[in-house]
């Protein structure tokens, strides 16, 4: 394995980072360990569980299936770009109110899957929500309260408009 380093420029949550990375470094590891953005979690490293889901140029993708070098010149958003503990994003607020998280490990992945989904589908049916999160595994909640939270966020969003 060559240890050659490649220069990359990546915009993460609106901040431009210039780094030199090995070709094999996973984007998930780059975000977590090189940039210290620990909200992106790694659950399986083979693209099934969805815990590491981030937005790559606006689309939800698995950061464990992408190398950091492939993010060169691209724009990434992680859970840290949503709300803060003092000022939650509306979807985070709905997750809180509906008890849509328990251990919280899968939660950032669900949020990053659902943010673009709700933008495209502001009034989803329960079935559409279930389809949307079918690529994210949660072992704690049984998904019931996640679906409720998404409906809550959608309802509040349409009230606000």
């Amino acid at each position: 394995m060559s240890n050659k380093l490649f220069p990359i420029t990546v915009t993460v949550n609106g901040v431009e980072y210039k780094r030199e990375v090995e070709a094999r470094l996973l984007l998930s590891d780059f975000l977590r360990h090189d940039l210290g953005l620990l909200g992106t979690h790694v659950g399986c490293e083979h693209g099934i569980c969805g815990a590491c889901t981030i937005l790559f140029d606006g689309g939800a993708v698995r950061s464990c299936l992408i190398f950091a070098v492939q993010a060169n010149g691209h724009e990434i958003r992680t859970v840290e770009s949503l709300g803060t503990p003092e000022n939650l994003h509306p979807l985070q607020q709905s997750f809180h109110e509906k008890h849509a998280l328990q251990c919280g490990f899968c939660t950032p992945g669900f949020l990053m899957t659902l943010v673009p989904f709700l933008e495209e589908n502001p009034h989803p049916s329960d079935d559409e929500i279930r389809e949307a999160i079918d690529g994210n595994i949660c072992r704690c909640t049984g998904y019931e309260k996640i679906v409720e939270a998404v409906q809550d966020a959608a309802a509040k969003n349409s009230q606000a408009k």
Binding site: M1, R24, C103, L111, N136, R139
Partner: protein, 781 residues
């Protein structure tokens, strides 16, 4: 007591940090100077080790050290027996062969650790696997439980005469005598398949030896931090005060994270001490599948004896239980199976025999449901078979034999995982069942929905089962509550947290007892420097045991608050009351004294208490129940199935549950829903499959199918049906609820599937059914 919080659906205090990525799980902890460990694991399930040569690995840049079993010298030894054998059961036999931290001479399961590589990065550590030469002599693997039990089998442990890990016989009444009076006797062989806990966060462990202070700090994603502190202390010859185990946020537990004496918690502290560097290891998903513990996997030979009118005379169950290659966790799982098999119905004569078998597979320890699911499955299936044989409705047969309110508490005579005789303490079993029939509208389904569907050529069936959940077992848990001079309250406990909302529910109890804002209560769990006594997080016991201890400690602090305030204000205690965050004089609301001020005064240095008096607005309390308390309930499901694809769809599910007093109904529903998803997954999707060579062929989420959002019931109702008797089981009347959801979906779904094909001879004899297996069953029907 004013109850502003207790019993209310209080939203969780921990959420806002978790939701924003502002909490730390074990892999989020970076210790300056840390090195990374990777475990080279065996590809073979059973083999003699001829040679392991790691010399080339040491030449790789970035590799700091490589260890094989021989490098650990005298430190290498089989680990402790984490759970002792059931000496309380007369005649029980148990062969302890405890986990070894790293394979020496012989490999006993695929995934067992052969070498530890320490490197500057995890990437480099795993690269070095290619440099290590492992020469082994493969042996035939013990995979099948019944064949493995035979005297002719290959041996997992060469020094034992057979693969018998344990043999336990428990009998109540006399089954063989009772059978003579039976009109009907039915015998069946059933399989309960092997499943993974599959918490979304894998395990992780960091050991950091501080040479200057002679102290070891450990961060571990564990359900039992105090067990780790004790075992590291013994293994390294250190005082427990030299070891600080911290459990950070944990991404789900579900059982296996209670297990210790694995390679990480044994070897990494030793290596950290040797190298004087922090060592970090984060398990990957493949390792979790291969080598972290898992559960179920039993073969039951059941027999039920009944009178023509449906009265059950007796039940016999000889079952094989897979313990894997070692049995450090004793017999918790099969003992749970034994107790739960006769936990619902009036069974005057019962014979149960555990045949616990060593195999060349990963070690088996409790997973949510933990033996209970197996016992309930075996009994519920046999009741279904009996109903068919007798021509009685499965509903009526259950109603006839379910225990009545006035029959409880009932001493079943069967000794359980806590080594005391199982007591069915409380609940309304028949009432739960009838409630479930009512909510799912059984009559309407039978009379209208099912006949209509059949006319349209659709297959739809219903199943309604009863279950119990043994919870809240001892020995004990404890906590300490302290009021700070700022008025903020801290509760510390040895219990660790994996998402069960402990930071909220224990705070609810304290906030009410001390009349403070819930936001002013901080709950610290699983930090051995904060609180050093307790057993660990398992068996649905947190709310009941830690909750009771919290209530008792809060009572003591409350008494101290009043006595301190009484001295300061020179007012008798009975004229004082708690106002929010302070003490005030009844009828004189302007005369108040804040709790923070009282905390300062409760110190002989500067206060109103005498020297020699226990200082502080602080108290510790412990709670240990004489026996566990038994949750109970019923589950109904309506399942439709496409005959072409054999894909079942859960149209409707109703769960009736009695978990006693609820501290927080929002959290209880979350626990039940999560358990239900696991029960559905176990029944329709999840299955660990070992081939004949002992290779796990489902070691990824591509092969091991987890239940997803689209697999859940189209409509799910949870009904709380709490009997009066359930509210008195311990100081707060709390039963556990963590495992209930996972228990009944299996027998309920298979009953419904058989019902959908009631015009055929479909008979389901296992707990996990993929569409292709259903297809095979239907071909035979």
């Amino acid at each position: 007591m004013t109850e502003k919080y207790f019993g209310k659906p209080i939203k969780r205090l921990e959420d806002k940090f978790m939701l924003t990525g502002n909490v730390k799980y074990v892999d989020d902890i970076e210790v300056p100077g840390q090195l990374h460990a990777a475990f080279l694991r065996s590809d073979y399930a059973h083999a003699r080790i001829l040679k392991i040569d790691a010399s080339e690995a040491l030449k790789r840049p970035g590799v700091v050290a490589v260890y094989t079993a021989d490098d650990f010298g005298d430190f290498w030894k089989p680990g402790p027996l984490q759970v002792p054998p059931p000496t309380a059961i007369p005649g029980s036999q148990f062969n302890a062969r405890t986990l070894v931290p790293i394979a020496k001479d012989k490999i006993r399961y695929s995934g067992e650790v052969l070498a530890v590589v320490i490197a500057e990065s995890r990437y480099i550590a795993e690269d070095a696997f290619d440099d290590i030469i492992v020469d082994v002599d493969p042996l035939p693997a013990v995979v099948d439980l019944e064949k493995g039990w035979e005297n002719t089998s290959v041996l997992v442990h060469d020094d034992l005469p057979s693969n018998m890990a344990a043999l336990v016989k428990q009998e109540v009444g006399n089954y063989e005598e009772a059978k003579k009076n039976a009109d009907v006797v039915i015998s069946k062989r059933m399989l309960i398949e092997h499943v993974a806990a599959a918490a979304m966060e894998n395990r992780g462990f960091i050991a950091s030896w501080d040479e200057r202070n002679q102290e070891m700090t450990i961060w571990a994603g564990t359900q039992s931090p105090l067990t780790i502190r004790g075992s590291v202390s013994r293994a390294l010859g250190l005082a427990e005060s030299q070891i600080h185990v911290i459990t950070p946020y944990i991404g789900g537990g579900f059982g296996p994270k209670v297990m210790t004496s694995l390679a990480d918690d044994v070897l990494l502290p030793w290596i950290s001490k040797q190298l004087k560097r922090p060592i970090k290891w984060i398990e990957d998903r493949r390792e979790n599948f291969l080598a972290t513990t898992s559960e179920r996997d039993q073969v039951h030979h059941c027999e039920i004896a009944l009178k023509k009118d449906g009265t059950i005379l007796g039940f016999k169950d000889v079952f094989y239980h897979n313990t894997g290659a070692y049995d450090s966790y004793g017999m918790t799982v099969p003992l749970n199976t034994q107790t739960h098999t006769i936990s619902n119905y009036r069974i005057p004569n019962f014979y149960s025999e555990i045949r616990m078998v060593f195999t060349n597979q990963m070690v088996v320890t409790p997973v949510r449901g933990a033996g209970r699911s197996e016992g309930i499955f075996a009994m519920e299936r046999m009741v279904d078979f009996a109903a068919k044989e007798l021509g009685i409705s499965p509903i009526e047969l259950r109603k006839k034999n379910l225990l009545r309110v006035d029959e409880l508490p009932l001493n079943t005579g069967v000794i359980g995982q806590d080594f005391v005789v199982n007591i069915l303490d409380s609940g309304d079993y028949l009432g739960n069942y009838e409630k479930c029939l009512e909510v799912i509208d059984y009559e309407k389904f039978r009379k209208e929905i099912q006949p209509k569907a059949r006319k349209e050529g659709k297959r739809v069936g219903i199943g309604v089962v009863a279950f119990t959940e043994g919870t809240a077992v001892g020995p004990y848990e404890g906590c300490r509550i302290t009021v700070s001079t700022s008025g903020k309250v801290t509760m510390t406990s040895g219990y660790s947290t994996q998402g069960q909302a402990h930071q909220t529910v224990f705070a609810q109890i304290i906030a009410d007892q001390l009349n403070v804002k819930i936001e002013d209560v901080r709950v610290i769990t699983g930090d051995t420097n904060q609180f050093a006594w307790g057993a660990g997080t398992f068996a649905s016991r947190g709310a009941a045991l830690v909750g009771a201890a919290t209530y008792l400690a809060a009572q003591k602090v409350r008494a101290k608050i009043f006595s301190t305030a009484s001295k300061k204000l020179e007012v008798p205690e009975d004229e004082l009351e708690l106002c929010e965050g302070s003490v005030c004089v009844k009828g004189q609301p302007e005369t108040t004294i804040p709790l923070g001020t009282l905390a300062a005064l409760a110190n002989p240095m500067r206060g109103v208490v005498e020297p020699g008096v226990e200082p502080g607005l602080e108290a510790t309390a412990y709670y240990g129940p004489p026996h566990g308390s038994t949750g109970c309930g019923a589950m109904g499901v309506i399942v439709s199935i496409d005959e072409e694809t054999c894909k079942p769809v859960i149209e409707r599910m109703v769960m009736v549950d009695d978990c006693g007093t609820m501290i927080n109904p929002l959290i209880v529903d979350g626990q039940l829903q999560g358990g239900i998803s696991m029960g559905i997954g176990n029944t329709l999707y999840e299955r660990l499959v070992y081939d004949e060579n002992g290779q796990l062929v489902t070691a990824s989420f591509m092969d091991y199918l987890m239940p997803l959002a689209t697999d859940m019931p189209k409509k799910l109702d949870i009904v709380h049906n709490h009997a009066e008797s359930s509210l008195k089981v311990n100081p707060l009347g709390i039963k556990g609820v963590g495992e209930a959801g996972a228990i009944p979906p299996g027998p309920a779904i298979v009953q419904a599937l058989e019902d959908a094909f009631q015009d055929t001879k479909l008979e389901i004899l296992e707990s996990n059914l993929s569409p292709s297996q259903i297809y095979e069953y239907l071909k035979k029907a």
